[in-house]
Subunit: 153 residues, 2 copies
């Protein structure tokens, strides 16, 4: 993880009279020290490996805090859980493509899509503020080799 992220985190906390704690540090690493999209539960597990005192309540509280300060984005992947996007700070406008078979998540950021959305918004009389795009399909590996799912047994 980029050092400037930690600085940003620290500053965001300070700006609202909040403190940096071992638990918050662990959660920061658990969620932003990876490019993986994780659920609150997975973040709890990862954070506890760093600091076993981290509780589920603190994970939820801290994730909310991070989302509010713009360090993190909540992500709806069309599954049962809410995911968190660790690549948001770096690429605030990216979207997701999910393979229907292996469920792997690919990210993309395409100017053309943005332009297209703006145009549609304008046609509707809107000034677009944000958008969310998620696509599902069959990945390259599946198409090429006929299988993209890692065998677990």
């Amino acid at each position: 993880m980029n050092e400037s992220v930690r600085t940003k985190y620290r500053e965001a906390l300070q700006s609202q009279g909040a403190r940096m704690t071992p638990q918050r540090a662990a959660i920061l690493e658990a969620v932003l020290g990876t490019t993986e999209h994780r659920t609150a539960d997975e973040i709890l597990e990862a954070a506890q490996k760093i600091d076993p005192t981290v509780s589920r309540a603190t994970v939820y509280r801290t994730l909310t805090l991070m989302v509010e300060t713009g360090l993190l984005r909540r992500l709806d992947l069309g599954r049962d859980f809410t995911y968190f996007d660790p690549n948001y700070l770096e690429k605030p406008n990216h979207s997701h493509m999910i393979c229907l078979d292996c469920q792997k998540i690919f990210e993309f950021e395409e100017k053309e899509l943005d332009v297209c959305e703006d145009k549609i918004a304008r046609q509707l009389g809107f000034e677009r503020a944000s958008s969310f795009v998620r696509m599902e399909g069959r990945c390259q590996r599946l198409k090429k080799t006929g299988s993209c799912v890692e065998k677990t047994a």
Copy 2:
């Protein structure tokens, strides 16, 4: 609501050995007899006006049934509730634009967006199967008149 929808419903039910009941009929009307996007709770309320015996459990069971048979689409509007899209049968590919102020939902279907998404999918090596797009912004009325929210008092 189009009569062919009722026929489709009836057939979908029959095809899996399921029966048409007063409750299911009431729920059908409650969810497809409007162009409004409703939550399970709103659908329950509307259905009970038609048939007071409709219970919450049956609403959930029936909505699941309708989604499974392709009559209805679950919709994530980025709110706390799951919404159901009554306009899915008519326009299976439409997307949503939501006003940040009045929260009104506008629908659109734009070929250009589809083409753009396909192109991106191809670039990623994917064969796109589905996609979900949601935009938020400020609506025409807000921009023109400075307000789009209905005053409640």
